[in-house]
Each structure stands twice: as structure tokens, then as C-alpha cells.
Symmetry: C2
Subunit: 251 residues, 2 copies
């Protein structure tokens, strides 16, 4: 398939690279910033463009992977002269309807950073489409890069994305807050890695409810009060209080 990528961020970079490695043809990469387009275009042996006018009209799929807010206006511009082309977006929280007719969604649920390699085959990809032909094309793309392809409509995908924010962004932020407290005590963050790894491994076998340990499930009020006193930052204290309460209530 002849593919154009609109956007060259973390997700676009990983998805475009995975598609090309699997034999697909990324002919153009668009970004407002030419240098950004060029970095990804070089990787996938495509052509970098930074003006929407330069984007070709005859691609089999336009994969749009940009900030959610920017999607509607970019789609509006792109659709001119490409009404019959397949448009695909990759966003968790944006409904497919934003793309118009003959459209699809391919949402790979993972945390992508440019400096990290990921094994795309292990990443669950959630797809939906407006029509059978669009479905066939997006399913082909998804199966080309992933072993775990799941049909999911826009409403459920929003909930999935919200879950991902809890399971990834909020989790990572808890690591960040832990790192700050460690640094404050002159301790190396790496000392926490065996604990972090086991916490993640545990939920492969136990439900998060059954995996929980620590002062909140034991209702060890003395420890909790002393820990609250140790926190100097007000917002972090508030986070501690709320999460402690929530664990206790959901015991």
C-alpha cells in the first residue's frame, strides 16, 4: 500500500517504521516543521513535506497522527480532492466521525518515546472503520504490524484511552514523585526498580485488588499520618491523601 503520514511525533514514528519494516510503502511524511518531517521521512525512505499543498492525491491511505485538537482542521484541508481516499487516525479519544466517510481508526495502545525501541507485534491495536472496504484496508495495516488486533468502536475506545492514562501516565507520574522523594533522601531511583518490576509483574497473575499491599490495605493509620508529615509539597500531600483514601475504600 502507498501510505502518507500526516504527523511525525512519537506514535507516527513508531507506526510508520513498523509498517515500512513489514514491507509497506510510506511515500510522504508531512509535518508543519520541515525538519521533523525529514527525520521520519529519512527513516522510512519517504519524502518530507511541510505544506499541505505538496501532499499527493493518490495514496491508498492517509494516516493522521497529530495532536487531537488539530485533527478537524487538518482533515478539512486534506479532504479537498481526496474525498474517496481512506483516512485513518490513531488517536484514543477522537471519534472516527471526525474523518468523514471512507475512514478508519487504528489506535495502538502503547507509550511511545522516540529514544526507545518497541516490539510493535506485541502492541494491541484497536480498529474500526466506516465501511467494509475501509475495514479491510485498516485490518490489513493493523495485522501487518501487530499480533493483537481488536475491533472497538469510538465510544469504547475513549474508555480504553482513559484506562491507559491511569495504567501508564498516572503510574509513570507516581514513579516520578517517588524519584523526587528518593532524591530528597540522597537515594538512587534505581533502588526502586525491583519493586516497580514486581508490582507490574504481579498483575499478570493477580487482580490489582488482590495484589495490593502496604499501609493502606493494612489500615496502618500511624504510618499514613507519619508519611503525610514527611511530604513537603502541598499537591503531593493532597495526592497521597486522596490515593490512600481510595485504596482504603476499595479494599
Amino acid at each position: 500500500m502507498k501510505i502518507v503520514f500526516i504527523g511525525s511525533g512519537n506514535l507516527a514514528t513508531h507506526l510508520a517504521t513498523a509498517l515500512v519494516m513489514a514491507g509497506e510503502n510510506v511515500v510522504q511524511v508531512y509535518s508543519k516543521t520541515y525538519e521533523h518531517a525529514q527525520i521520519l521521512a529519512d527513516k522510512v525512505r519517504g519524502v518530507a513535506v511541510s505544506s499541505i499543498d505538496e501532499i499527493c492525491n493518490d495514496a491508498d491511505a492517509y494516516i493522521i497522527s497529530i495532536k487531537d485538537d488539530a485533527l478537524p482542521s487538518v482533515v478539512e484541508q486534506l479532504r479537498k480532492g481526496r474525498a474517496d481516499r481512506l483516512f485513518v487516525h490513531t488517536a484514543g479519544s477522537v471519534p472516527m466521525s471526525v474523518l468523514g466517510s471512507h475512514a478508519a481508526v487504528l489506535y495502538p495502545m502503547q507509550t511511545f518515546s522516540k529514544s526507545r525501541e518497541v516490539n510493535f507485534r506485541e502492541i494491541p491495536c484497536f480498529i474500526e472503520a466506516t465501511d467494509d472496504e475501509a475495514y479491510k484496508l485498516v485490518a490489513h495495516l493493523a495485522h501487518t504490524v501487530s499480533d493483537k488486533v481488536v475491533d472497538l468502536d469510538s465510544d469504547k475506545r475513549r474508555k480504553l484511552h482513559l484506562s491507559a492514562v491511569f495504567a501508564c501516565n498516572f503510574v509513570n507520574h507516581c514513579y516520578h514523585l517517588a524519584e523526587r522523594i528518593m532524591a530528597d533522601a540522597g537515594l538512587d531511583f534505581d533502588l526502586l526498580l525491583p519493586l516497580i518490576d514486581e508490582t507490574a509483574r504481579k498483575v499478570h497473575r493477580l487482580s490489582p485488588h488482590d495484589a495490593q499491599t502496604g499501609p493502606m490495605v493494612r489500615n496502618d493509620r500511624k504510618v499514613m499520618d507519619k508519611q503525610m508529615e514527611l511530604i513537603s509539597d502541598e499537591r503531593t500531600q493532597e495526592i497521597y491523601k486522596l490515593l490512600a483514601e481510595s485504596i482504603y475504600k476499595m479494599r
Copy 2:
């Protein structure tokens, strides 16, 4: 060494088992509830007791692994006739001073559930002692079970324990909240596992700050507002708001 365990909870179970596997001798296991003492005693081929009067006076070490609140009164009772014996506790947030003289702390930082095997050798163990002889004994015990033994005083251990609450208990609770949202959409929690694993793996190489992704670091307000609306539970909504703000401020 001849060891008595006071307490038979998750931590006691894993530590006692690791010590016995490495050739140490756990002669008695005490718990208020005889059945609990018996389960661990059977595992380590020791004797279960449920009355403090039955605890022998001549052990080389008394390892006390009970709820923090209960420590002072149990120590007071136990010290009678055992003033010269080594007392060790395993708690993150309790100062060593609670044990009196000739005492030590051995804090293995891990999340222990009885139903899960752990490789104790990978668990960082934090130790301190009141005197050289106590230090020698506790260091011997720690090195017997772990490859990562670190000296740490009571003040810093409290901060370490607080970090562990963020990196483990709060992280696991975020998994729990994610699971609820998934269930609400009829989705299987296991779909989140590749994301959970990669989030944990990432911080082996990147700092949590550099590893962060998602709508908060992109400052994608539209997504955040829509996600807030999706959350039905008020406390979870509050958690979302606070953590989102905190990520944004620490970008």
C-alpha cells in the same frame, strides 16, 4: 543462627522461607493466631506458638515482623528476660529505637503476597544496627538472603518507605482504577498488560520525567476535559484532576 520469628504475615513468610532455604534455623514462629503461626512454622520446620510465654529465651535473633502499631507493646513484653538478645524489625517506617539496645533493622523493600514466589536475592535489603555486634549479625542475615544490602538509617528509611508507597501501592491502585474503567467498557484488563510492562521497563533507561507521554505532557486540554466527563465516580475524578495537574506542572 537460631532465629525466632514474631509475626507470620506476607513479609515474615517470605523472609523466613528465604533464610531457611539458605541454611538458617528458624526454631519458632509466633502469631496471636495459632493457625497462622502453624502455616509458616510448617514451611520452615519450626514450632508454632501463640503465647509470648512460650517463646524461647536463647535465640540468636528475634525477627519481629508485625503491624507497626503493635511493635512497641510486643517489644516491651519480649524484652523481659531477653535484654541481651538481638532484636530485629523489618518495618520501613518504624525507627530502630523502638527495639531498645542491641537491636537492628532489616527492611526488604518489596511487595509480598503469600500466593507469589519472589526471588529474594534481587530484593534490596536496608539495614542498620545499634552496635557492631548487632551490625555483624544483621549484615550476615541480609547477605544470606539478598545480593543487594544497603546501610540506611531510620530517617532515610522512612523516606524510602514513602517512595515505595508511591512506586508500588499507588501504582497498583492506578492499575485497579484502570481495571474498573476497562470493566465498565466490557474490556479485559489483560489488554493493558503490554502498556503496563513497557511503562515499568521504560524507567530502567529513561528518567520518569523523560519517559512521560500522554495528554497531560502534550497539554491536550480537550482530551482531558472529555476524559474527566467519562469518570462517574467523584473520588476518581478528583484523582484524575490532581494527577493531571501535577504532571502538567512537572513537565
